[in-house]
Symmetry: C2
Subunit: 185 residues, 2 copies
DNA sequence: TGGATAACTGACACCATGTCAGCCCTACCA
DNA sequence: TGGTAGGGCTGACATGGTGTCAGTTATCCA
């Protein structure tokens, strides 16, 4: 409020309370994440490629809005309403990811296992990594975070050609440089 | 303090402040976790088996002390000293896990990748899962949590015979029943 | 200019956390 | 038995963060 030049009570004209601000902030980030996740979740085209794409945008959003994610996740335990919002946010991903996994298992491209707990595990990994890596001003390297979680997701869901996919992908990522592209061709 | 029958100030005779209590609680849980992790970290015997064992005891400890883990992780953002303790706690695992992965990569039983970010990702997954599953009184099923994180760890680190290892393991876990064991033999 | 509506604020109330001077009670001693 | 030293404990207070409200100022329109 000092930075805004307004008084503290004015804040309460725009938000119910401090946690109301958190909810608003989360809503803004949520759309970006849901948007990016759609690529893989809609289940069209190549599974590996679309997962790579979805996780890439997830990391991008996390990189840009990391402090917001950390603020919300830090504040959540202090307010039952916000905690519910945060848990619902994470939980909704658990369910759609689980559903996507189940589809891939029917297709036979993903090993058979109970999809919901694994979805939960992978999502908690993403959330924890993004907050840890990008939550504070001194941010970690975006690409190594992406490479790490992408490897884990691929190894778990599409274990058949992880290394091929990952080496292609990192070669692709590494080349805004033309010479490399020409060498590939 | 109401439950103890003592007055609130008495609390401060035993702890510096509320976060001091958290540190003490964490210390107690820490030994159990470090103990269990040693099996895999010392790197003797079969890698897959020792990882299974370490994760099993990790889940056991998490199941028993889940509320403490949640309490510490919830309180950490409110106090810079506690936050540092918590981050150091998690970070120390990142380093030893990363070192263990590097050894397995030299042996050729783990694919080549930057071990530290992957270690971080797997550890955040564990922490997030344990807190989510066991942090509140109505706890999730212990075995499905174990199966989920075990699958992710194995798929990522020892991808060559995940399904064999996991089916053996779940058969072993599932049989306090004698008939099954006899069938196996 | 008058008057209504929106924007804003000073001052207050409330609660959680932490502190401190002093009380009580036990054990030990003369 | 009476006195006293010391540890254990507490009532009462101080502080800071969060939220509220009556009242003031600014803006816009008739």
């Amino acid at each position: 409020m000092t930075d805004t030049g307004l008084s503290r009570p004015t804040f309460y004209l725009y938000f119910n309370d401090l946690h109301g601000l958190m909810e608003t902030l989360l809503d803004e980030v949520k759309v970006g994440i849901v948007e990016g996740a759609r690529t893989w979740l809609t289940n069209k085209g190549d599974a590996v490629l679309s997962l790579q794409q979805s996780l890439t945008t997830l990391v991008d959003v996390g990189y840009k809005h990391g402090p917001i994610l950390k603020a919300v996740s830090d504040a959540a335990p202090n307010d039952s309403r916000l905690e519910h919002v945060w848990e619902t946010f994470l939980g909704s991903f658990d369910e759609v990811v689980s559903a996507r996994i189940a589809e891939d298992q029917l297709k036979g491209i993903t090993p058979d296992f109970d999809p919901l707990p694994v979805a939960r595990a992978l999502n908690r990994m993403d959330a924890g990594m993004l907050i840890q890596a990008f939550g504070t001003p001194k941010k970690a390297d975006k690409n190594s975070v992406l490479m790490a979680i992408l490897r884990v997701w691929l190894s778990t869901l599409y274990p058949f050609d992880v290394d091929a996919a990952l080496s292609d992908f990192s070669a692709f990522k590494g080349t805004t440089d033309e010479t490399d592209i020409h060498k590939k061709q």
